[in-house]
């Protein structure tokens, strides 16, 4: 009898890229729903717009490269990039900025380097930074959370703002937007207010900002789900949050009036999203477990430094990109010791 020959191991493979991406997407959903709940339809519209753009861009590149389109779309990585971008940008961002950002992420940051697995930088964060630097006003126009919002907008009104740029009725941008909790803290501290004085501001909640802290909590939950499903390992999220928390703790001990608590830092801004969903992108992180700990800690420390003394209220994107640059070097210096080799390697 004749048989086909294949190479060992002969096993049914338990993992797939698609499955890994799918777990991350599923884990992202509760936090995303909370974002829509607190910040309105804009988040959902951005997400649909971003995903559509991402798929279109991937399809375009695959067509240009003469490759099959479906398997590349179905690895879900572009969709995940689009989703991460959409939850990171303000809800009323003009449509063309979302399109520009996602197109930049997919076409230049990802595909120009060779596609999935070859990108040096995290695509979603590179796009975020491009827009933040180029369009600082639009990129920092955040809405107040639902419970503080005096002018909630419906779906049609939101569509009108995003695609037409027209606010409903006599509303002005100043009336619609509100500083984020991180902004509030930053401004307050620069006016020599103490942390406890600033905390009485209605925008601040238990740990971070009202609404924001719930979203962060749900991202944490999603992170736990990914750890359980082994879609990510603990190394990067724990070290990222750890780096941020330890920095905050040290300075808080030093001067509790001038430096807010660790919990504020962890539950504010994009810290939780960044630690579990963005920094964990394996492609642009170092390829050793030990290296990932240094990488995560670096991100956490940089976030604290930029938030506290830098020019921007939040810094996940900058920190991730900076550490992306350091990843190959970190990897080089943290290569594991091969079994049976003594005294060489770094273990």
């Amino acid at each position: 009898m004749q048989f086909p020959t294949i190479t060992s191991p002969h096993t049914s493979r338990p993992n797939s890229v698609q499955k890994a991406m799918l777990w991350v997407i599923l884990a992202l959903i509760p936090g995303t729903l909370a974002m829509i709940w607190f910040f309105g339809w804009g988040i959902l519209i951005n997400m649909v717009l971003a995903i559509t753009t991402a798929i279109a861009c991937e399809a375009l590149v695959m067509k240009l490269r003469g490759r099959e389109i479906k398997p590349v779309i179905m690895d879900l990585s572009a969709i995940l990039t689009a989703m991460l971008f959409a939850v990171a940008v303000p809800p009323l961002l003009p449509w063309w900025l979302t399109v520009l950002g996602v197109a930049f992420a997919i076409l230049l940051v990802k595909q120009a380097y060779g596609g999935l697995g070859y990108n040096v930088f995290n695509p979603a964060m590179a796009a975020y930074v491009l827009l933040l630097i180029s369009y600082p006003v639009q990129m920092t126009s955040w809405l107040p959370p639902m419970m503080l919002n005096e002018n909630p907008m419906g779906l049609l009104q939101t569509l009108n703002v995003i695609f037409g740029g027209a606010l409903p009725g006599s509303l002005t941008w100043d009336a619609v937007t509100m500083a984020t909790p991180l902004d509030t803290m930053r401004t307050g501290l620069s006016l020599n207010q103490t942390v406890s004085e600033i905390s009485s501001n209605p925008i601040l909640g238990q740990f971070g900002g009202k609404g924001w802290e719930v979203v962060a909590g749900l991202y944490l939950l999603g992170g736990g789900f990914m750890l359980y499903k082994k879609a990510i390992s603990w190394h990067i999220p724990v070290s990222t949050l750890g780096g941020l928390a330890v920095m905050a703790l040290l300075f808080n001990i030093l001067d509790g009036d001038a430096y807010p608590l660790s919990s504020f830092h962890i539950f504010s801004g994009a810290a939780m999203l960044g630690a579990f969903f963005i920094a964990t992108d394996p492609v642009s992180a170092p390829g050793t477990r030990k290296g990932q700990i240094y990488y995560g800690a670096g991100i956490g420390i940089l976030v604290y430094i930029i938030r506290t003394w830098g020019g921007y209220p939040d810094a996940i994107a900058f920190s991730v990109l900076l550490m992306n640059m350091a990843a190959p070097t970190i990897e080089f210096f943290t290569r594991p010791r091969t079994f049976g080799h003594r005294g060489s390697g770094n273990d």
Partner: protein
């Protein structure tokens, strides 16, 4: 790499955990549903001459010769080698290349025997029942002459392993490997359940040869019956009082030599080194049984237990098979193929290799014939790009970074791959198994190793050619120099002669002139002095 503890005869024994490894469904139940049997006398025996790692064997018989069961038919003079024997009596009908169970699928030299069905034994060497009264050299020689090799898959000559090199003869632990960590395979399990005494006897003989401080029989905890039987056998025997049955957790590849040594002793075999360097020798349970047969009964290695399993086989079972029996003759004895049969794998799923045809003889190291269905083992899927997810790094039992090795191999940077310790890869297949991009990493590493060895060989060839060319140039130069020197010497001699002649002539002329003057005489002796 952490430590943990296990119970050993109501005592606590410390064990170590190597980093990496994978948990996979062991699929061992199906071949254990029927008791082990004995394969029928085959129509034809195809006995590969090369069933060991080392120097190739030369046939000792010719076509047409009658051979007896247990008669040596192939041998080599090399130290690292093992002879082969006729598995039954019959006639040699062919000596030539036939397909053999080798991953290259290249045919190898074989001796084909037509059995006469009489199964008549040759004169066997005397049993060494009281082996402790024999010289160790004689026992080692017996094991060598019996053609015993590592039967767990490595097929390294056992007698060599039992002769540790100078300076490595202080053996702390003799490990009898009954881990059998590959899925589907149950031949060692069955052997332990049914032939514990042979294993213990073999272990005792090897223990005597090595003078080991302890003998550890390691069995994975998914084989409770074997553990029970082996424990009883150890308790009952008087030959082996330093033996312990050590139950180790089921984790692939615990049965790999280096990993097993680490689990039991916490010692790491240095890169490129031998286990005896850390005072350990590992032997498979089947090998131990073969040693027992050879030493206590004088019987060479001519048969072994083979697991025939998978959903592609109607009645999966273990069979005692004469070496050289072809798979196509074995399969009908276990009910034949089902219509789900999709592949033919010699060995287990992790490290076995798939064969195109079932006209393949069973050799000394073939513990399993696996014919899976597509449900059990699907065909490979499309490869996607590496996303550097580190799953392969987490799974590698050797502490390698397969994703980086793959990167270098893919870009043909073999030297870089080598720097990343490519040659430490034991090809266990864990990385390929866990890869979400379905990259056949192990296959890349295998071919890279082969390419590297080829490169080394080419390099050596070049080196040799260069050396030869240099030697030739030197030789030619030397010859030329010698020639020149000779020529010069000749010339000088000629000149001297000429001058001597001239001087003589002059002298004669002067003498003839008969008017010698003191100053001209002085001049001529002076010039003569210069020439001399």
């Amino acid at each position: 790499m952490s430590k943990f503890y296990t119970e050993d005869n109501n005592q606590i024994r410390k064990l170590w955990t190597f980093s990496g490894g994978i948990h996979i469904p062991d699929n061992k139940a199906q071949s254990l549903t029927r008791p082990a049997g004995k394969a029928e006398m085959p129509q034809r025996l195809v006995i590969p001459l090369q069933q060991h790692i080392g120097a190739p064997n030369e046939p000792l018989v010719a076509v047409g010769d009658k051979v007896l069961k247990g008669q040596m038919i192939g041998q080599s003079q090399g130290f690292v080698s093992a002879p082969v024997h006729a598995s039954t009596s019959g006639t040699v009908v062919d000596i030539g290349d036939h397909p053999v169970a080798h991953p290259s699928a290249l045919p190898g030299p074989c001796i084909v025997i037509e059995p006469d069905k009489e199964d008549k034994w040759a004169d066997l060497p005397p049993p060494m029942e009281y082996y402790a009264t024999w010289d160790k050299r004689d026992i080692r020689n017996r094991i060598r002459e019996s053609g015993i090799v590592g039967m767990g898959g490595a097929s390294f000559p056992t007698s060599v392993k039992l002769s540790p090199p100078e300076g490595q003869q202080d053996i702390q632990s003799l490990i009898i490997n009954g881990a059998e960590c590959e899925p589907f395979i149950t031949s060692d399990d069955v052997l332990m359940q049914n032939h514990a005494e042979r294993i213990i006897n073999g272990a005792a003989i090897m223990n005597y040869l090595l003078d080991a401080k302890e003998c550890l029989i390691a069995i994975e905890d998914n084989k409770p019956e074997a553990i029970e039987v082996m424990k009883k056998a150890v308790a009952a025997t008087e030959k082996l009082d330093n033996a312990h049955v050590v139950v180790i957790p089921t984790l692939y590849p615990s049965g790999s030599e280096k990993q097993l040594i680490y689990i039991l002793t916490g010692k790491e075999v240095p890169q490129g080194g031998l286990p005896s360097q850390v005072g350990v020798v590992v032997q498979n349970v089947s090998t131990a049984a073969a040693v027992s047969d050879a030493v206590l009964e004088g019987k060479p290695l001519i048969s072994r237990l083979v697991t025939l399993t998978g959903e592609g086989i109607k009645e999966p079972q273990n069979l005692e098979v004469l070496l050289g029996t072809q798979v196509e003759e074995l399969v009908p004895q276990v009910g034949g193929y089902t219509n789900q049969a999709s592949k033919l794998i010699m060995g287990g799923p992790m490290m076995g290799f798939s064969m195109r045809s079932d006209a393949i003889p069973v050799g000394k190291a073939n513990n399993c014939v696996l014919v899976p269905s597509l449900d059990e083992i699907p065909n490979p899927e499309n490869i996607s790009a590496c996303i550097r997810c580190l799953r392969c790094v987490d799974a590698c039992p050797m502490g390698l970074v397969p994703q980086n090795m793959y990167w270098h191999v893919q870009s043909k940077a073999l030297d870089k791959a080598k720097e990343n310790n490519l040659f430490d890869c034991v090809e266990c297949g864990c990385c390929s198994h866990v890869c979400p991009s379905r990259i056949p990493l192990v296959q890349f590493f295998r071919s890279a190793k082969a390419a590297n060895l080829q490169l080394d060989r080419d390099q050596q060839k070049k080196e040799r050619a260069r050396e030869r060319a240099e030697a030739r140039n030197e030789r030619l130069e030397k010859i030329a120099a010698e020639k020149k020197a000779k020529m010069e010497a000749k010339k000088a001699a000629m000149k001297k002669k000429k001058e001597a002649a001239a001087a003589l002539k002059k002298e004669q002329e002067e003498q003839a002139a008969a008017k010698p003057a003191a100053d001209t005489n002085e001049e001529s002796t002076g010039s003569e002095g210069q020439d001399g």
